[in-house]
């Protein structure tokens, strides 16, 4: 089956949101997706994009069928004070029925190539430890688990804590 990888465009936001929700469902956290198509449009295609996206598209069975978006990767550039630019892979997903065709590998190859061209030191991403198939997918390709190997832990301040921290001290 033929597929094509391309940069996402504003018209893709509805498919991007659909796939974001499919991935969240796979991770059993679908109810945590509060993002809207409007957010995706403003945040990805305004003057200062907060993310970039690659889309995987396939042609339907007959030439009169519409193209169908079956996979995506959402990424942005971040910065490590020790080594500089990094590519952060935020979401990466191929719809179940289209897995095993090499789309995921191709997306990763495309991102690695982009990371090299933009002189990024590496690609960073977060994986849930119970997501064995994804962990193996990445480790087979040379990824390191920094949490396990170097003791890095991911911490988070939620909105309430941010609001509290942003207020002047009452002490």
């Amino acid at each position: 089956m033929e597929y094509k990888l391309r940069k996402a465009e504003p018209r893709d936001v509805s498919d991007i949101l659909r796939l974001v929700k499919e991935l969240a469902k796979y991770e059993e956290m679908e109810n945590q997706v509060t993002l809207t198509e409007k957010d995706l449009l403003e945040d990805g295609f305004g003057d200062t994009p907060f993310y970039h996206c690659i889309i995987a598209e396939i042609q339907g069975e007959s030439s009169s069928d519409d193209l169908k978006v079956v996979g995506f990767a959402m990424y942005y550039f971040t910065y490590d004070p020790w080594v500089g630019k990094q590519l952060y892979l935020e979401d990466f997903y191929v719809t179940e029925e289209y897995r095993g065709l090499g789309i995921g590998s191709d997306i990763l190859r495309h991102l690695s190539d982009l990371a090299m061209k933009t002189r990024c030191n590496g690609m960073m991403f977060v994986v849930a430890e119970n997501n064995e198939s994804s962990i193996q997918f990445y480790k087979r390709r040379g990824a390191e688990d920094l949490s396990q190997e170097e003791g890095w832990r991911l911490y988070r301040f939620g909105k309430d804590s941010l609001v509290k921290m942003a207020s002047p001290s009452e002490e």
């Binding site: 690609m123 390709r141 990824a143 991911l154 911490y155 942003a166």
Partner: protein, 170 residues
């Protein structure tokens, strides 16, 4: 103690580079620091910056006269990267000269980062900490953060160097 917090500018890159090295010494990973002052200038202060920084400064009269002879007039840096998707603000690495700990400067820097993040419409602040770095972990937990690695099993992974070059091959 008087101190002020402001946005970093290109002239701060020399101090930022110095503090990054010192933080790496504290984290016992100096051999991993490849970044130079020039990298910081190009990557942080050109048309499309890859990071933003805020600086905490003390006035001249509080300069340290002891220790290793360094006289810091500026002594803290926080890099903030703005993430998309969940519109999370992530920050990495914070350094306070040991002689200035306990003066509320760390809290003030965190407060500023939180203000900047909220103003930009962010809902979360994500960052990483080494598990043995107890004083930092305690500081952050005291401010109300959660350990996502423990709570949700999220592992921080990386693909770099030869592995990344190999992946990029057709």
């Amino acid at each position: 103690m008087d101190f002020s917090i402001r946005a970093a500018n290109v002239e701060d890159c020399k101090d930022i580079a110095r503090m990054i090295t010192e933080l790496a010494e504290y984290e016992k990973v100096t051999d991993q620091v490849k970044i130079t002052q020039r990298d910081l200038e190009q990557d942080g202060f050109s048309k499309n910056p890859f990071f933003h920084g805020i600086i905490a400064e003390v006035p001249e009269q509080h300069k340290s006269k002891e220790g290793d002879g360094k006289t810091p007039t500026r002594y803290s840096t926080r890099q903030m990267q703005v993430f998309g998707c969940e519109t999370a603000v992530a920050s990495d690495k914070k350094w306070l000269y040991l002689c200035f700990l306990g003066k509320g400067i760390g809290k003030a820097l965190m407060s500023k980062v939180a203000q900047l993040g909220l103003a930009a419409g962010c809902h979360q602040l994500n960052f990483t900490v080494l598990d043995w770095n107890k004083s930092s972990v305690d500081f952050y937990l005291h401010q109300g953060c959660t350990d996502v690695t423990t709570d949700m099993g999220y592992h921080y992974m990386s693909c770099k160097g030869e592995a990344m070059e190999h992946l990029a091959q057709p």
